[in-house]
Symmetry: C2
Subunit: 433 residues, 2 copies
């Protein structure tokens, strides 16, 4: 009998018989292995040459998704989960290999029954995409969905989104949502929901707990704080960065602290204790209006500085309305010619000037990520200031990028130049003198 990925099989070797689901082309084993998902959830790789027989026990059948509606419980707050796709809404596709977004909102609610103990959950699929494909127009889409839900009198919103651009999206929405009476929490998962190590359930539950049990109103991120499954971090949206490609605790505050910590384990009989780290934050207020301003300028770029750059790499942005430079150290680019090997650098400041003269607003951030740009310290920085580049203080490059696009979409150029270096949403820390 021909076997296919997803079938339940018995794999015979001389020594043993393994029963489980035949997995698709594995990611880390090579082609000389078959991989079987055992009943206990673990995968095992079996060398092809050791296999004597493969028996198909049960052919793979695509699961039928069943509708699911929560019954309304009085006394519990109403939380809307707005899903945009990403790993939090995905499972391994046993046919194609790899992870695919396979998601219906009712299914998510049925997958995480604990949510029903915390709140009356309503969920909606507003997009189904990997966050890598997010554009500014999608931030507007998310903002409009938030607006619609808020008008329905919901108590809080969870945005499920792919982790690759989760932090950037939360930063963009922090600018777009000028004020909010309710909490809007971005969450996602680094491991897909069908894996034992998935962080999807805990991140969702912590986000719901944080909405239900605290007076916080504003935009924030909720993700695993550590590699254990004990706490989730509630993170400031414009100061958070994904700093690991695969770990569940990939999201860290940069030049900032957590807003709060949600304990998922019951400590001293205290279920899910929430500790605030930040003392000052906007509080829930049903009388506060939701103000949304989703315009963003499309022609904005981000240029990362390296050694050995060419003037054309700068000139490319002529005609752009905004450009964030991810400079070295305290906010530097090449541009001096201290010796003849660097003669080409004589054309870099003129190239930057051309970009500025074309009407582009240039903002400097640091590729160090941590720390602040200080463009007065070295002659290089001072020369860049003279050209008209504006220091981005201690903003993350990605935050400066969405902030610049948002400012350019809503303010006059001279106002943008004034506001980019001012703290609007916690994206710039106070300078410690």
């Amino acid at each position: 009998m021909k076997y296919n990925n997803g079938d339940i099989v018995k794999v015979h070797t001389k020594e043993e018989i393994y029963e489980g689901i035949l997995m698709p082309r594995p990611e880390i084993f090579d082609e000389n292995y078959k991989v079987i998902k055992l009943d206990n959830g673990y995968n095992i790789g079996i060398e092809n040459k050791k296999i004597t027989k493969i028996e198909v026990i049960k052919k793979y059948e695509k699961k039928k998704e069943e509708g699911h509606r929560m019954s309304y419980k009085s006394g519990l707050p109403k939380i809307s989960i707005l899903h945009t796709g990403g790993t939090i809404a995905s499972r391994v596709d046993y046919r194609s290999g790899g992870v695919v977004a396979a998601f219906s909102p009712e299914e998510i609610v049925s997958m995480f029954p604990e949510l029903a103990e915390i709140a009356n959950i309503d969920s909606e699929l507003i997009a189904n995409m990997w966050s890598d494909d997010l554009r500014f127009s999608h931030f507007k889409l998310i903002a409009k969905a938030i607006e619609k839900k808020a008008k329905e009198g919901i108590d809080g919103i969870i945005i499920g989104i792919g982790t690759d651009n989760l932090a950037v999206a939360s930063a963009a929405l922090a600018f777009i949502i000028q004020q909010t009476p309710i909490p809007i929490i971005f969450t996602g998962a680094q491991r897909s929901s069908d894996r034992g190590s998935s962080d999807a359930a805990m991140n969702l539950i912590c986000a719901a707990e944080f909405i239900a049990k605290t007076d916080f109103a504003g935009v924030a991120v909720c993700m695993h704080e550590n590699t254990d499954d004990k706490t989730c971090a509630i993170l400031p949206p414009a100061k958070t960065r994904k700093l690991h490609s695969s770990r569940r605790d990939a999201f860290k505050p940069v030049n900032d602290t957590l807003i709060a910590r949600v304990n998922i384990t019951r400590v001293d009989g205290n279920p899910r204790k929430i500790e605030f780290i930040k003392e000052s934050y906007a509080k829930k207020d049903k009388n506060r209006k939701l103000i949304i301003n989703p315009n963003m300028e499309e022609k904005v770029g981000l240029l990362k500085i390296t050694v050995n750059m060419f003037p054309k790499q700068f000139e490319f942005f002529k005609g752009y309305k905004g450009l964030v430079i991810e400079g070295t150290g305290l906010g530097h680019t090449p541009g001096h010619a201290p010796n003849e090997l660097a003669n080409i650098h004589k054309k870099i400041f003129p190239a930057i000037k051309k970009v500025i003269d074309s009407g582009c607003v240039l903002v400097m951030t640091t590729t160090c990520l941590f720390g602040r740009v200080e463009m007065q310290v070295y002659s290089k920085g001072r020369d860049l200031l003279k050209l008209g580049i504006i220091p981005g203080e201690d903003m993350l490059p990605e935050t400066a990028f969405v902030k610049l696009a948002w400012l350019l979409g809503n303010y006059k150029k001279e106002e943008v130049k004034e506001l980019i270096g001012k703290n609007l949403r916690g994206e710039i820390s106070e300078r410690v003198v």
Copy 2:
């Protein structure tokens, strides 16, 4: 009498008189203050409106640099300090404000007399530049200076360099120097040498100690491990990144550990204890030849991925020989059009294909910095693999960039595509299965 920056002055207020050096336009105080550097090294800001009189005690005189030659001590190793400029060789210029590179090699030796107890120090200025202006040709210059010194039978080399691109330069030299009989240690300073908080002395001393007291041979970085002044970290050259714009402990290993730790404080009568963290490393061997291969391909780029990109940002690299993509998460770019808002993404894969078809080798790294790219996990990654993008494993984007340029300068294209994902100098960690 008219006062100028650099003059020794007495500043009178109603309450007190402050004597010290009048500092140039301060970086962090505003224009309403005068800043005086007191004898104890601290700066004090005095509000202009409180000042009743400024008396000039001594006009500023530019110091004459005096030559300095160490007398040879038998029994001590010979260490060459090759200076390329940067903060480690700089002081505040009291006239212009800010920091300038003002440096003579003899002066450096006289500034750090402890070095003479560790080794016979010889020093040479091979360039005088901020590291922001480094080009690949400067790496060749450094390599040639190393070669010259090694031929003179020196026991170890310290490269003094600006911190902005210190890590990148050490990575480049790790590839260029195919093997070495002696240690080559990159060091720098985050605070200029005339400041009380300067890390210049300790970093130089730890680098010299590490060369003099251990059997290590190879390229490494020596910088402060923590914010205290107790230990320096000896870091792997291709796995180190500057992760803070101003802190002295800005340099951290990424996806790796320290090579060793140099204690500068005397613990239990043990002066400057050196602890190795890595067990395996190349040992000193006078019979091993120094092999240097400094060719690097000039036309190599690095493209950082953001949300809202345009196909032209990819197409720009058509005709380049190499391009490192700093992708999101496990190694992704935009390129799918899951809804009509992302229609422009339909042109991104074709743009990437044009770049590849023009003869460019494309390598994927992650903007998360920590963790590995895994392009088999999601359909996005698999599509990028199909286009011909090569996974950069857990290499830092900046390391992948100089490695790709170095490979393209020395190998055929097919060999480059083979070698870029293989570990040559510790730049790729073994995969933990």
